[in-house]
Symmetry: C2
Subunit: 346 residues, 2 copies
């Protein structure tokens, strides 16, 4: 059965991109054409123990008897070379050997490939999306957190501890007094995630004197330790907002609100500073920005470009910065590419 | 002739590691055994136009009629995929296509491979030196400047602009007011090179009030913008030294001089901070430290380890930090590995 599926040109390549709220699934032809894509909810019950069985059931049902030659799976944690995943806390998993677990559920699929979700998305963008004309791409995902992945020469570089691409934890402000989720102070994620940019705005409001002192809570950040900040003196709509999110900030910046504009500018400088370090480390051909925040489009990309240019080492100043071409399907495309690569080695 | 050399098991693999003061040369057996190694001076006359002819002559003379199946060459600049080198300013070269230039001088060598000197040294250490038991290594060279190179899966990652490994230009102190050679302010090289650590010591002496105000010259750096610094109040021998270099600082630190010890500590924190960014970018299995300063041995490595641990993202805290195993022969070993890799593709 195994060999049969692998050599069957009509067999599918399956893809499963497991996230905290949903599992994105796909079936691809052997020529990487997306045949079907769908989502199922991620079941958080019983420490996420239904997630892999649900995924397996759903794939088999959609494949409807057509053999699957290979499956690529992305998971929100660090995957080592033995396909063991660690730190998958947001779906409740303890340390798990994915290969053994999936092999038990899907014994007829000859090739199984696993990777970190952001790294897999980077591979998807590199092979089929905004990076398809480049040899190496650094993918940056901006959402609840800041993640990333590096793909070069058609393969994902996941690193010795699966921590390659964990750019949300590049320290850009070691003088910060507020701790990041990781326990250290001054990580990029504290300023450049969806929460981070809201904190930046609160930071500016505090400097302007618009928020009471008790608002200097543990959630606040101190970006003024990194940059000289010149607060615009005209009134901002953020001063009177009861609450606001990252979308509101980008929208207000677009409408000409100068404090919101400065917030976006500082967000761009924080990300640009971290990207200048990445360029000195590995010098990717292109940066591709995805994740929920990337929907802010040009306003966001232009701020990041200005931020990067403020700090980039001259030889890598011209590195391109693009918006994701595959959106939230980057993951399943990357899963297919990962499975395909492994299949061609068999 | 070409095919003959490539298939001749008795042919040599030649290596040339071109530096600012000397050219290190080597002949290896096809099994990577070093047969002979020697050095010739780098001739800076006429914009370095004698360097490649001198190298070719010397190799042919030492090979004494034995065919050379492949030559690997490391140069102090960024080499692109077309084997064109840029920014080779310290040996006087303009933009040069190395393959054409060397092919004209050594038409009988079938395979020519080129790379940046630090990247090639990284490959040497990864394949034959301190990194030989690892899959990926980030090599850091500490000398007049701070350079580096990243090798993974037996190949050098040189980056889109040949700038991978240019870690001396990771910005660790964007608040710095003194400019680096590259024109930006706050690069790692300003604090962690042989000159950089001397500047750090001057910085501390200035804070202590031991140097006249006019000593706050453009060469001074302002590390106090990055770290809270608590200057030891006992007397340091650095206060009375007419001049001192990086070796003196490490020696004094070893002898218990507390200001010299603090200088070494801050050097380690600067390098450790940059390394924490590299780990979040690509997460190498091991860091290998070479270059002239690495002769300071344990005192240096231990300061770097403490510095790295102060900043490392938890999953990559345990990344090993080793001293170069091949010393100044890392380059020629890497040249041989690079040529060998290309030969096996032919």
């Amino acid at each position: 059965m195994e060999k049969q599926a692998l050599n069957n040109e009509n067999a599918y390549i399956a893809a499963a991109d497991i996230g905290g709220t949903s599992i994105k699934l796909g079936l691809f032809s052997r020529e990487h054409r997306l045949i079907a894509s769908w989502e199922i909810p991620t079941d958080p019950a019983e420490n996420g123990s239904n997630i892999l069985p649900d995924t397996a059931d759903s794939l088999l049902r959609h494949a409807a008897g057509v053999p699957i030659a290979g499956l690529g799976m992305g998971v929100p944690g660090a995957v080592d070379r033995q396909n063991t995943v660690r730190n998958c806390t947001n779906i409740g998993w303890d340390t798990t050997n994915l290969e053994n677990a999936v092999r038990a559920l899907l014994p007829d699929i000859p090739v199984l490939a696993f990777g970190n979700d952001a790294s897999v998305a980077a591979l998807g963008e590199l092979c089929f999306g905004a990076g398809r004309n480049y040899d190496s791409a650094y993918f940056i995902t901006l959402g609840t957190g800041v993640g990333g992945g590096y793909a070069s020469g058609g393969r994902v570089i996941s690193g010795a501890n699966g921590a390659a691409g964990e750019i949300g934890h590049i320290l850009i402000n070691p003088g910060e007094s507020t701790a990041c989720m990781c326990g250290r102070c001054g990580c990029l994620e504290q300023y450049a995630s969806a929460n981070g940019i809201v904190r930046l705005a609160h930071n500016l409001l505090r400097i302007k004197g618009c928020r009471p002192v008790e608002d200097d809570c543990p959630g606040d950040v101190h970006i003024e330790r990194l940059f000289d900040i010149d607060i615009p003196d005209d009134e901002s709509r953020l001063e009177h907002a009861e609450g606001f999110n990252s979308k509101d900030i980008f929208k207000l910046a677009d409408s000409g609100d100068r404090l919101a504009g400065l917030t976006v500018e500082l967000f761009g400088r924080c990300l640009g500073l971290a990207m200048s370090s990445i360029s000195c480390s590995v010098d990717p051909e292109v940066y591709i920005i995805g994740g929920g925040m990337s929907k802010a489009g040009k306003t966001l990309v232009n701020a990041v470009k200005r931020g990067y240019l403020s700090y980039a080492y001259p030889p890598s100043r011209d590195t391109e910065i693009l918006i994701s071409g595959l959106g939230n399907q980057a993951g399943i495309y990357g899963c297919a590419a990962m499975a395909d690569r492994l299949m061609s080695c068999k």
